[in-house]
């Protein structure tokens, strides 16, 4: 798979190598700084950050209140901050309202709390249809919302970055904050999925 990718992308690969050499010669970039920054996004920043905030909001009413009032501060308080997290806003899913995040003009995304966006979030298919047919887009992900649930799409056209606070699933009463965080997916925090109940998986398993 990754070998395939390398083959297809030999053009850009060679180009980036040449660019890096050129800019290194000019003293603009150096290989160590590049490695360090790449490592940060590969290892330190990712959807796990957002998942921990969600899990805490589910278990700590005061934190949830702070999160919905000022998500930037609520993220900083847990150690998550950065240039793209400067204006973070959390939007809450309920039984009546479901939120969906998109950036139609480019691919703005809450890096600090979700890491780098997946390819589908940056795809033309998602960017074009999330605003005109959000229910159809959710169906592409296997999520079919009842008609009486209002869909609210947030197009990140400015410097605000959105994070969806998903609904806490049933059957999670006894779980710890850490166990809850394990359930929370990136897709749920963008709004193309709900957080699956561990019960459902369990019952399906017991039926099998």
């Amino acid at each position: 798979m990754s070998r395939n990718h390398d083959a297809v992308e030999s053009g850009p690969a060679a180009r980036v190598r040449a660019l890096e050499e050129l800019l290194a010669r000019k003293g603009l970039v150096d290989s160590d700084s590049i490695d360090k920054l790449a490592d940060t996004y590969e290892r330190k920043v990712g959807p796990r950050n957002g998942a921990r905030m969600v899990a805490r909001a589910w278990t700590d009413a005061a934190y949830k209140k702070r999160l919905l009032a000022d998500a930037t501060a609520a993220a900083t308080e847990m150690g998550f901050s950065g240039p793209e997290g400067g204006h973070l806003v959390a939007v809450e899913n309920t039984d009546r309202v479901h939120n969906l995040i998109v950036c139609t003009l480019c691919s703005c995304y809450p890096w600090t709390v979700l890491g780098l966006p997946p390819v589908w979030y940056k795809s033309f298919a998602y960017r074009s249809h999330a605003v005109s047919d959000p229910r159809g887009v959710m169906r592409d992900f296997g999520l079919t919302l009842p008609d009486n649930v209002e869909v609210r799409v947030w197009d990140s056209s400015a410097e605000i970055r959105y994070l969806v606070l998903p609904k806490r699933p049933r059957g999670t009463d006894g779980l710890s904050e850490g166990e809850l965080a394990d359930l929370v997916t990136r897709d749920a925090m963008v709004g193309v999925a709900e957080v699956a109940s561990p019960l459902r998986t369990g019952s399906r398993r017991s039926q099998a």
């Binding site: 050499e21 590049i34 996004y41 795809s123 033309f124 609210r152 947030w154």
Partner: protein
């Protein structure tokens, strides 16, 4: 500019395909161009607005046939050329061509604005106000999507004061002003007779907006 990047509401791109267990980067060159770009932008003092506009100015066919990080390569090359850091000759020697900047649409910014505006200007609109996105089609950078232009909505949040992308991308002034979340009913945006409720919120700067009362009759009631 009404560029190819402004694709909200377009059809024909097919279903959204999700990749299972997707890695952060799909190839080593992606892993390198991403931080390389961030570091270069920082060195050159390029704003997010200017960076976005360098992507938007790619030839449309090339934009659509490039992957996300291939567009970053093009943007960095364009900015290096336009900021005078790398010459076409240097690109030719290193890349075999003159760099993406040689084929990018030149930026056409607005005239520079004076710094007369205060840094914390008064908000013209407030939560609950009915506003209409103006029908603006500037030749340069803008963050007012085409699908929202001319449409009426309601201010749901005042995000505070932000620099104005349409001038800031062109070094034509920061022009700080309030930016609002404006919520549009999907029926207003797409004319569709949806039974199910859908709303789209777009973050719009004050200069993009006018009071809806001045341009059309008030539809619907209070919120």
């Amino acid at each position: 500019m009404n560029g190819i990047h402004d694709i909200g509401g377009m059809d024909g791109f097919g279903p959204v395909i999700r990749e299972e267990n997707e890695p952060v980067f799909h190839a080593d060159w992606e892993r390198r161009i991403y931080p390389l770009s961030l570091l270069t932008l920082r060195q050159l003092g390029v704003s997010a607005d200017e960076f976005r506009h360098s992507i938007e100015r790619m030839p449309p066919a090339r934009y659509l046939t490039s992957s996300y990080y291939e567009r970053w390569i093009a943007a960095v090359e364009t900015l290096l050329l336009e900021h005078g850091v790398v010459t076409r000759e240097e690109f030719r020697a290193a890349l075999g061509d003159e760099g993406a900047g040689a084929i990018a649409k030149p930026a056409e910014g607005p005239p520079a604005t004076s710094g007369a505006r205060s840094k914390a200007p008064r908000a013209r609109f407030k939560r609950g106000d009915r506003v209409r996105a103006r029908n603006l089609n500037p030749p340069g950078h803008t963050r007012l999507p085409r699908y929202a232009r001319g449409k009426a909505g309601v201010v749901v949040r005042d995000w505070g004061v932000f620099v104005f992308p349409d001038t800031n991308a062109h070094q034509a002034g920061a022009r700080p002003q309030h930016c609002y979340a404006v919520e549009f009913d999907a029926r207003e945006l797409w004319g569709k007779p949806t039974s199910a409720k859908e709303r789209v919120s777009v973050d719009l700067w004050e200069d993009y907006l006018e009071s809806a009362a001045t341009t059309g009759p008030k539809k619907g009631g209070k919120r």
